[in-house]
Symmetry: C2
DNA sequence: ATTGAAATCGGCCTAGC
DNA sequence: GCTAGGCCGATTTCAAT
């Protein structure tokens, strides 16, 4: 697996500005042909750097509820699962999970019923602390700087280098440092799935 | 200015899922022609509900620094200005500002030099409290539910209804409840600009 | 209906074994 | 010298306006 080069980063920067930009336009700007750009974009999606093409909406113009920031302390061991459950809620737009079991949730609430919102996704008994703040403004300014790829082998934990590969299983992508890690993981996965 | 109808919301939902979806595909799904969809998307951009087409990136695959969440208490009166200054920084992706003068900043830092990062944008003496947490995961799941437009006339503060209009001045869009508010604002703006 | 963009395919070039 | 990967150009099909 190749690392990101400056052309990949340029393509990402241009698409962050306008994700509908034609490939031919990208091609002119980065000095490649349109099919070459298309190949690179496909690859960026394959490895998962580009999760999706989407919209930046101005939520201050929409009347869907009161925007709040909910700050939760939860058990560290349960934080990942709770983060996912919260992210699934329609009224939750962002969830940030910190290393020490804090979840920051950007959500829309009706009236002031934050508890009702949270109860739809998680068990309130597991929450150690809740703070709710009214949001008055939010800014989003995505950049990528000069970042390269930083993948960790899900089988052995090593850093994934140019020899690495990746697998797509059930809509989740898994990265491996080598073919043997990849096949070990796949075998184990198949075994577990047969037993289930 | 017309409010959002269910077709607008459907178009937005589909574009949130995949902003590169062809208009003809959208057209099939919402039961309109492609040009009609194109007109609606233009309108949604005009009024500012769609700020831009962009990418959802998986930052956990990129190595541009350590992702942290910085939690600041600042003087309420200075919060807006400080929020903007922080958002300008290359390494800052999100800034959330709460009603009580708290700023939550998602940033990338080198090593652990958070202070250095903040000092580039704001005066550290104005900060009343700083907490820094390591981020381990973040989810972005934009939705719009069944929201309509919620615009406030910048001239008189009334709610903008179907009679409203809007102006684009210096890349900023201003909404008005009626033609007279719009022209009052424009005249005042011109006067101020001539004097400057 | 015209103009323009996306996808596809065969072939070329280069790097690495 | 052979293979694999990346890119190009032409073509055809489909989309934007």
């Amino acid at each position: 697996m190749r690392d990101l080069d400056e052309t990949d980063r340029q393509i990402i920067r241009l698409l962050l500005e306008d994700a509908r930009r034609p490939y031919s336009d990208l091609a002119d700007r980065v000095g490649l042909s349109a099919p070459a750009v298309s190949d690179r974009v496909d690859r960026l999606r394959e490895i998962g750097v580009i999760r999706s093409f989407t919209l930046d909406l101005d939520r201050s113009l929409l009347d869907g509820g009161t925007p709040v920031l909910v700050d939760l302390d939860v058990p560290v061991a349960r934080a990942g699962e709770m983060r996912n459950a919260l992210a699934e809620l329609d009224r939750v737009e962002h969830v940030f999970q910190t290393a020490d079991g804090r979840l920051l949730v950007r959500a829309l609430v009706d009236g002031d019923d934050v508890t009702g919102l949270l109860a739809d996704a998680i068990d309130l008994d597991e929450i150690r602390r809740v703070d709710v703040d009214l949001l008055v403004e939010e800014r989003w300014t995505p950049t990528i700087g000069d970042a390269g790829l930083a993948l960790t082998c899900v089988e052995c934990g090593n850093t994934v280098t140019s020899e690495g590969e990746s697998l797509l299983i059930d809509d989740e992508r898994y990265h491996f440092c080598c073919g043997s890690c990849s096949s070990n993981f796949e075998e184990r996965f198949d075994r577990i799935q047969r037993n289930a």
